[in-house]
């Protein structure tokens, strides 16, 4: 069975995203995928989906969408006032984050400006079923692939949605919800040192981990430009272009740090002072313009321990398989 979700009001940048598109970086195609994978996984698990099911990623503000079929949805990540409306657009009830909600054919879901973080997820039982391109449904605007025509959702767009999830939806305790919502909202990002130490002043790493930085308005799925503090570089200029990855902190010749995001270039020509650890990438996806952030340096062991314990915590709070499953 399948149905459709119709966009009544799209929000400033609403995109179909799953866990991303590994395997195409050699073509210059970024990995993409949800900027906050932790929230996507949690939302998907609660409606009974696999972690990788495609959802709608909203940016800074929510959307208004109607359903032509009975469905179950779950909001995760940053939230705004969310209302379930009947076919006559009359408010029926509020929809809470990380609480799976039945929605009837003809009803709609209206979500206001997001608070606390930058990105919210609308997960739907059965997932958003747009075509996979290069192995993923994730929208990558620069390639023009994924989602609907590789672009942000617009008024009147109709998205195919599944109605049958892999498992039944389920609820979790309020404390688990609170903890899951707080996990990606950390404003201190841990980094391991980058590969270009010789291109930086001795004080550069010290500056990175001791000063505060502000997220500028130039913050999107390609990169997050920081302001407020400059990183001293020794060699003003560029390196030969080399492979990049999400979380790499590039420093431009004038000392401005730019953190690469999931849609960032696969190769880049600015030296990298540090790389945000895997466990803190979801937090990176929740940064809003104006947020003040700090960095701390960790070694590989600490980075891996953080990632493993984060996944264990997610699995404990919100198991990938239903608890009653044999």
């Amino acid at each position: 069975m399948s149905g459709q979700l119709r966009i009544i009001r799209p929000g400033p940048c609403s995109l179909v995203q799953d866990l991303g598109r590994p395997g195409s970086a050699h073509l210059g195609v970024a990995r993409s995928g949800a900027a906050d994978t932790l929230s996507l996984r949690a939302g998907n698990r609660l409606v009974g989906n696999e972690d990788n099911a495609a959802a709608i990623e909203m940016t800074l503000a929510g959307l208004h969408a109607s359903f032509d079929t009975d469905s179950t949805v779950c909001l995760s990540g940053a939230g705004g006032d969310a209302l379930l409306l009947d076919a006559h657009a009359k408010a029926m009830r509020r929809v809470k984050l990380l609480e799976p909600t039945r929605i009837g054919a003809g009803e709609s879901l209206r979500i206001g400006p997001l608070k606390g973080g930058a990105r919210g997820y609308l997960c739907i039982a059965g997932g958003v079923c747009t075509a996979t391109e290069l192995g993923s449904r994730s929208t990558h605007a620069a390639s023009g692939i994924g989602g609907l025509g590789g672009r942000a959702l617009d008024t009147g767009d109709c998205l195919p949605i599944g109605t049958d999830a892999a498992r039944p939806a389920r609820r979790i305790a309020p404390q688990a919800r609170e903890r899951l919502l707080a996990m990606p909202l950390c404003r201190e990002l841990r980094v391991t040192p980058g590969p270009h130490a010789e291109l930086f002043d001795q004080d550069a790493m010290e500056t990175l981990v001791s000063e505060a930085f502000r997220v500028s308005r130039a913050a999107d799925r390609v990169g997050v430009r920081l302001e407020g503090t400059k990183i001293p570089t020794l060699d003003p200029g560029a390196i030969d272009s080399e492979p990049m990855l999400a979380g790499a902190i590039q420093v431009t010749p004038d000392g401005t740090p730019i953190i690469l995001m999931p849609d960032g270039p696969t190769t880049g020509g600015y030296p990298v002072i540090g790389v945000v650890i895997g466990a803190d990438l979801p937090a990176l996806g929740q940064l809003r313009p104006g947020d003040e952030i700090r960095f701390s340096a960790v070694d590989l062991e600490a980075a891996l321990e953080a990632l493993r314990s984060q996944r264990e915590e997610l699995d404990t709070l919100c198991p990938p398989d239903a608890p009653d499953r044999p």
Binding site: A25, G28, G247
Partner: protein
């Protein structure tokens, strides 16, 4: 022979540094450009059979990186496996292989070539001579990066070497053929860009609906064939019609 003689003559390929970069990638880095043959043999040694947990292998001029999922594969094990494979490859053997040749028709006429005049002036050459030079040689696609399907093409004649624009353009049209430093390249999508634009091809460089989405692949031999505005328009129309037919 299409193989670079400087590569075949070296009997002991340079040894790269192999380190972890972040908690999710192994970075293989040469001090100097080892040539496309060495980079390609490193890539092949890493690609097949796939390293467990590895998602992407990204090549650039003198750096290759393996991106993996650290929850699927322990980083120190991936690092050790990369080192083993590079050793096993005898420090990266260089093999001759037939290269795919890609010919791109290019219109070098004024509306498509805003920077041709300034490069000609820099070089002290006429514009037609510059076009002859650009279209008169074969290029090696060193790697893809910057944007989907954008290939860094090596082999640009020295007269065409020019610095990037001091202030990048906010929009470069898809198909724009450009030069910067010692590279030529073709912009697949409308993006901002700082390379100097000297022509335009009607071909689509990147199309995810194709079996091979990128028209140019790493290691390909690329040539440019000058065409006039009329042929440009004809090829563009044919391509659009062809795409309509496929759908």
């Amino acid at each position: 022979m299409s193989t670079d003689p400087s590569q075949t003559s070296s009997t002991t390929p340079p040894t790269p540094g192999v380190t972890l970069c972040g908690d999710r990638s192994v970075r293989i880095s040469f001090d100097h450009d080892p040539g496309v043959g060495v980079i390609e043999s490193v890539r092949r040694a890493l690609a097949s059979p796939p390293i467990p947990g590895a998602a992407d292998i990204i090549c650039a001029m003198k750096t290759v990186s393996v991106v993996f999922d650290p929850l699927e594969a322990d980083p120190s094990e991936v690092l050790a496996e990369v080192r083993r494979r590079l050793d096993g490859a005898g420090g990266a053997t260089i093999e001759d292989r037939p290269r795919r040749e890609v010919v791109l028709p290019v219109c070098y006429e004024p509306p498509f070539a805003p920077d041709l005049a300034s490069i000609a002036e820099r070089a002290g050459l006429g514009q037609s001579r510059l076009i002859d030079l650009h279209a008169g040689v074969g290029y090696t696609a060193r790697f893809l990066g910057f944007s989907p399907g954008f290939a860094y093409l090596e082999g640009l004649p020295e007269a065409l070497h020019a610095p990037r624009l001091e202030s990048p353009r906010t929009r470069i049209e898809p198909g724009s053929v450009a030069v910067a430093g010692c590279f030529s390249g073709v912009y697949p999508q409308a993006t901002p860009g700082g390379w100097r634009v000297i022509g335009r091809t009607p071909l689509r460089l990147f199309d995810p609906a194709r079996k091979s989405p990128a028209l140019i692949g790493p290691g390909d031999l690329v040539r440019f064939r000058p065409i006039d505005g009329a042929e440009y328009a004809r090829l563009l129309t044919e391509q659009v019609a062809g795409e309509g037919g496929l759908q």
